[in-house]
């Protein structure tokens, strides 16, 4: 009984993924066949990659006891910048500058949250709002098209194959999946094997204790926001490349969904627990949910309701687990 409780509270993502897979098997017939086809599975992985890339950076901030809701704003601004800057300079430089923009915003967030000790949830929400306005101004609230095939290839290309799905033929691995894997390995190493990563757990667990133990808490926590800003900008550039357009509308929902996805995986807003692996599972859950609902032909408004319900249920459970822990102590 106790083990069952722990399974449900600590491995929310695995339980939820298992439930979705069971539903898809139970649906049977064409639905199952389409859902479990190699094309659909690869497509699902491919479309979750950007969420995962955003989530990797956010995980660090959440482990350190913070949060970053400005990533939606960074995503859209750097996505639009990466296309518009190409008019003035060669593509690689434009992309680097677009990513650096995220670093800069992250630095500013870090100043407000860590150095000035403001409440991270509200202040990053405000920064996100600001950036969404900037993105609309930059793009005049229209999608900005890109006309450089090289740029489009960054996200849409395949390695080790030609991307053709025919019977008995290996289609290759999408570039996005490769980029995601590289980022994943880097972050997993960062958090497991460097003193920076280990310090984050200490900071998230108890900020004051970490400070008295001689950890440079300000610098370390500041760094998490810089990293998460950079990753958000990277995600924005990749998204623009994938869709071949930059637009101000993609950011609306993303920030909260990514933060929820991180918590779903088992990283708690209370700080000090969690990991990269868990976050990836949590974010893949949202990709899986989207895909499953599309294959099941659920109308978009019902999809919105289901997603909202899932978010509430999971965060409710996160708070409830914290309460149980407090009561046990």
């Amino acid at each position: 009984m106790n083990n069952l409780y722990r399974l449900f509270t600590q491995q929310k993502a695995i339980v939820a993924i298992a439930v979705i897979l069971l539903v898809m098997v139970a649906a049977g017939g064409d639905v199952s066949r389409i859902f479990f086809s190699s094309y659909n599975l690869l497509d699902m992985l491919n479309s979750s990659t950007i969420l995962v890339i955003l989530g990797l950076g956010v995980t660090l901030t959440v482990i350190a006891g913070g949060c970053d809701l400005s990533i939606g704003g960074i995503l859209v601004v750097s996505g639009i910048l990466s296309i518009q800057l190409q008019n003035f300079m060669p593509m690689p430089l434009a992309l680097v500058l677009a990513v650096l923009f995220g670093t800069l915003v992250g630095f500013f967030n870090g100043f407000l949250v860590v150095q000035q000790k403001t409440e991270p949830f509200i202040i990053t929400l405000g920064v996100g709002l600001l950036l969404t306005g900037v993105a609309q101004q930059l793009s005049d609230a229209h999608p900005v098209p890109a006309n450089n095939p090289d740029f489009m290839n960054i996200s849409n290309g395949y390695q080790f194959g030609d991307g053709q799905f025919t019977e008995g033929h290996f289609p290759g691995i999408p570039n996005l999946v490769i980029i995601m894997l590289i980022c994943f390995v880097f972050f997993a190493w960062l958090i497991r094997y460097t003193s920076f990563g280990r310090n984050l757990y200490a900071i998230g667990g108890d900020y004051d204790v970490a400070r008295y133990s001689g950890i440079n808490v300000v610098a370390n926590k500041w760094m998490t926001l810089v990293i998460s800003g950079t990753m958000a900008a990277l995600g924005g550039v990749l998204l623009s490349s994938k869709l071949n357009t930059g637009s101000a509308i993609y950011g609306d929902f993303t920030a909260l969904v990514v933060n929820c996805g991180v918590v779903v995986g088992g990283t708690s807003f209370a700080g000090g627990v969690g990991g990269i692996w868990q976050s990836v599972l949590g974010l893949l859950l949202f990709g899986l949910l989207d895909n499953a609902m599309n294959v099941l032909n659920i109308p978009s408004w019902y999809q919105m309701m289901l997603k909202g319900t899932v978010i509430v249920a999971i965060l409710w459970m996160d708070s409830y687990t914290q309460k149980r822990k407090r009561e046990l102590v």
Partner: protein, 322 residues
Amino acid sequence: MNKVGFILKDYLVLLMILGLALVTAIIQPKFISPANLNNIMRQFGPLILVALGMTFVIVGGFIDLSVAGTINLVAVVTITLIDPLGQVGALVAGLVIGSICGAINAGLILTSGATTQAEALFITFGMSTVYSSLALIYSGGSTFHFWDLKEMPNMFEAIGAGSVGPLSVSFVIFLGALALLWIFHTKMAAGRAISLTGGNKTAARLSGVPIERSIVLIYTIAGFMAALGAIVLFSRVTTASPVIGAGFETNAILAVVVGGTTLKGGKGSVLRTVMGVLLVILLNNCLNLLGVSSYMQWAARGAILVFAIWLDNRKEVQGNQL
């Protein structure tokens, strides 16, 4: 000297935007024309009602992102109920739905044992999505107009466009709500308990303040006021769409924080919120008259929100040092 600086910081945002109003009035004399002032008074309606409800949530140490969803849902349900239930019936039904939405938020937060603003933020965000999608499903995504109804709803028309003497009806509703909420907050035990809950939850619980009752009250008030705001809003534009409330949650939070109610909870008042809303509306009006694009107005609002929170936090830090 220190005290002067403190008072100056307390009213810095007020001074800044008053300065902005002055500059606009000089550059663009239309600003103080009776038509524009009347326009400002009418804009006061929906936002102030929502922000008054939000004040209690923030004073209680929580936050409510679900008001946008509540407004969407109440607007479309109320307007479709005018034909079957009559105008008074629809009005009551709308207010009840809003209160129920708020009570559901409170129930979720109470049962999960959430004590921090962060937990409340995400739970209410999820509920906002749920309410908005319910509004879309209920309305089928379509927009309802007054002229589609069997007969013109003259009561709602009066709420939206009527006048009592020199004041608009929505302004009178606002004055009534303000008086009631101010008395509730400052003179009644239940209202005082909300401030105590926001100040320090542990201390409040240990000294016998019923924090559960406070949580239920703040979210129900926020839901009720959001519903009232939704009714005034769709009465003014004579149209209810399922996305009518978008952006209201951030504007309401902005107004409350700019007014000087602290996000840490415990300190603040509905009168400060009135000031905050006045500033937000003046700002929009100034930027419109100065010809700033609506996108840059979004950015400006975000910047002011960030600045106001930062300032609020500075005051807190200095207050602790005193």
